[in-house]
Amino acid sequence: MKRAGVLQLGQHVGKIVLIVLLGGTLGAALVRFSPGFGVDERELDSRLNEQSIRALRQRQVEENNFAVFYVHYLGRLLRGDLGMSRTFERPVSELLKERFPETAKSVGLSLALAWTLGFSLAILAVMSRHWTIDLGASLLAGLLMCLPAAAMALLFVLARAPARLVLALVVLPQIFRYSRNLLARSAAQPHVLMAQAKGLNTLRIFFCHILLPVAPQVLALAGISVSLALTAAIPVEALCDLPGIGQLAWKAALARDLPLLVNLTMIVTLVTLLANSACDLLGQRFRGHAA
């Protein structure tokens, strides 16, 4: 039994590693074959002579063959070397170390806020059974969904509000809508209606008969919300000058910085997969309890 569990965990980890590597390969291929790959703005510097321009071009020869680049990259990765960023001319590991805390803080704070507000609104909308509350919350979520993250970021800058909270407003409507639908469906089950009709304790009905059956789905939504917040961090950090991973990804994409982009792709993939796996594992436990 224990052995089977270890085997299952091993399979899961193997699957994550494989997907991360595949994500890295696809990321590398996309950057390599994008127009403008392998050029350096410095080539237009009129002070540079022919040899220097050729040397600038030569520097990217290894990256031209993305398969060779990727194999070399993986070799270096095994030794703990993430390579050098062409744009910043600094080791990628240093850049990530510098910027990861900023994004982690933004994403963490915004997720906490989005879940607190979004889930509370969903509970209120479902449990109150009052159409005005449900409509009001749905309209608010709809409005936030219509606003592009970039526009919200600029509004926050204008209002001198902390721009990292924009991430919360990007994730909040998704959390509200999905969790509201899940809870509403669960609350409409005949046995729940019967329990309510019989006057059972509302809290007990909510936790045991409404929330518990949909816990695996809610946890899956939690996993997705991490990747939603991470994706939104790219335009928000770029527009609001927040020195995080998102801003780094933006600059790396504009400069076709292959080593940096491959690492960022793999990190985003890894974080998303880990968040989803953790939620899956928790979800399985809940399924067990519910059963």
């Binding site: 127009p35 403008g36 790959f37 392998g38 050029v39 350096d40 703005e41 410095r42 080539e43 237009l44 510097d45 009129s46 002070r47 540079l48 002579n49 022919e50 040899q51 220097s52 321009i53 040397a55 600038l56 744009t87 910043f88 600094r90 850049l95 510098e98 600029l154 800058v157 204008l158 001198r160 770029a238 527009l239 609001c240 000058d241 020195p243 801003q247 780094l248 933006w250 600059k251 504009l254 400069a255 076709r256």
Partner: protein, 491 residues
């Protein structure tokens, strides 16, 4: 940033454009322009306390001229094959000998920040007014006052007055403006015309227009022989009359007035009128004259029928211009050029590309017809444009890397540029450069459109700021600047 941290032997005064002593008290050029001998200031120390001597200059030159480094500053000193030799006869004297004479040699040292040969802090030990205290790549740089800076004011107080400078690398112009208005930053250099007008409308005292800068906006046609363009288009673009006609059909005054809100002026040629010594004052910007443009085209066999221009073989005259996406000034200029050319029956299509894609087209694939781009000039000496004007150069953008000049006028420009680079007499050099500007004006391989003005915004709390057209426009006199809280924050 190098201007704020690096100590140099000679400084080009951003106001007078003349070279003046800095870490070198005096210098002498000898050996037919190959050798420069400096007498250095004594008793000076780097920011970390290590002493400054001629050995540091020798070390800096050795690093700069390292063939594997490929720095633009180093390339400016590479006049010929061979080694650069340094001789240190005394701790305060150094002679540097180059393999061949270099015109304008002394002013090139304005770009050479001296590094310490002995300091354990290496390039972080500096001789300029500030040292880097903190740096976050792509985000900000925090500079602190160099406690060993050698310069003092008339009252004997050590300069600079401001204790620290925070340089923000700001991606978003709107945010930057907002921060200036709120007083979160003290100045913005190289401001766009639109934002300049916004600042003016909110608080005219903050906005500063130093006048026309060295930067130019230009358009050129692809004249690369093996480019993937049809033969008849290559023939149009190679025709001087065609290029001159397109140039005359463009209303440069309108570009300056509408696109740059009047903060630009019609460009004349490769050297801006802001470059006091090297600009050929005999030349004027090409006038807007669509009738003359049509006459030139008619002489080449082009005919305007039903509002459409056709060449002698009946091909409709239509081409595309590429420019970098996101640069609204270039996009607007392209739109106005499109309207002007439509008046003489030419259909212009505008294609915006992100910068790497655009560079790929103009330097690798040559898959483009015309390009609209700007040239940022930091250097006054025409030598800095050698790699644009020599027909063999990689940056000879309309037709790079030619084995032999493909036209007579390009051969003539090659001759003139080489002649000015090998002459030390400034008057002679000026005559060659004047002639080069005349040929460029006549042939128009680059259709120069406008020279932008040097615009900046400076908060009221920053004192003694006198923005100039040369970079760094606002803080060129950083030693003399002061603020209420003695901290300057800048984009």
């Amino acid at each position: 940033m190098r201007y704020l941290t690096g100590g140099v032997l000679i400084r080009v005064d951003r106001l007078t454009q003349a070279a003046g002593p800095e870490l070198a008290i005096s210098w002498k050029i000898s050996n037919g322009g190959k050798t420069i001998t400096f007498k250095l200031r004594e008793g000076i120390h780097f920011s970390d306390g290590s002493p400054f001597s001629a050995d540091d200059v020798a070390y800096t030159m050795q690093l700069l001229m390292d063939p594997s480094v490929h720095s633009p500053t180093g390339d400016s000193f590479r006049s010929d094959e061979g080694k650069v030799e340094t001789r240190v006869p005394a701790p305060n004297r150094i002679a540097i000998t180059f393999p061949a004479p270099i015109a304008g040699l002394d002013k090139l040292f304005d770009q050479v920040a001296i590094m310490s040969a002995k300091s354990p802090k290496k390039e972080m030990a500096v001789l300029g007014p500030y040292y880097v205290a903190e740096y976050k790549a792509g985000s900000y740089v925090q500079l602190q006052r160099n406690p060993n800076y050698w310069r003092h004011d008339a009252a004997g107080r050590q300069l600079p007055y401001i204790d620290s400078v925070h340089l923000d690398i700001q991606q978003n112009r709107d945010t930057e403006m907002l921060r200036l208005v709120r007083g979160e930053i003290d100045f913005i250099s190289s401001l766009d015309a639109e934002y300049f007008d916004k600042v003016t409308s909110q608080n005219p005292a903050l906005a500063h227009d130093a006048g026309v800068s060295l930067d130019s906006e230009q358009m050129w046609f692809n004249q690369v022989k093996n480019s993937p363009l049809p033969g008849y288009k290559k023939a149009w673009f190679a025709s001087t009359s065609f290029r001159r006609a397109v140039s005359e059909a463009i209303n440069r005054e309108d570009l300056a007035r509408i696109v740059f809100h009047g903060h630009a002026q019609p460009a004349v040629g490769p050297i801006s009128p802001a470059n006091k010594f090297w600009f050929n004052a005999k030349l004027q910007a090409h006038p807007f004259d669509q009738k003359s443009a049509l006459r030139r085209l008619a002489q080449e066999g082009f005919q305007l029928r039903d509002g459409v221009l056709r060449d002698r073989d009946g091909h409709t005259v239509e081409f595309s211009v590429i420019t970098n996406a996101g640069n609204k000034y270039r996009e607007r200029m392209a739109t106005m050029v499109q309207q002007d050319l439509a008046e003489i029956g030419i259909k212009l299509n505008i294609v915006t590309l992100d910068f790497p894609s655009l560079i790929e087209r103009i330097t690798r694939t040559f898959d483009y017809e015309a390009c609209l781009l700007g040239l940022f000039n930091n250097d006054l000496d025409p030598n800095s444009q050698m790699n644009v004007w020599l027909s063999s150069a990689e940056n000879h953008q309309w037709n790079p890397s030619q084995k032999t000049p493909q036209t007579e006028w390009e051969a003539e420009i090659d001759k003139l540029m080489r002649a000015q680079a090998s002459t030390l007499d400034d008057k002679k050099r000026k005559s060659y450069v004047d002639k080069m500007q005349e040929i460029a004006w006549e042939q128009e391989p680059f259709i120069y459109l406008v020279n932008r003005n040097a615009l900046s915004a400076i908060s009221a709390s920053l004192r003694n700021a006198h923005p100039v057209v040369l970079r760094p426009q606002v803080y060129w006199n950083i030693d003399e600047l002061s603020v209420g809280g003695e901290v300057a924050r800048k984009h």
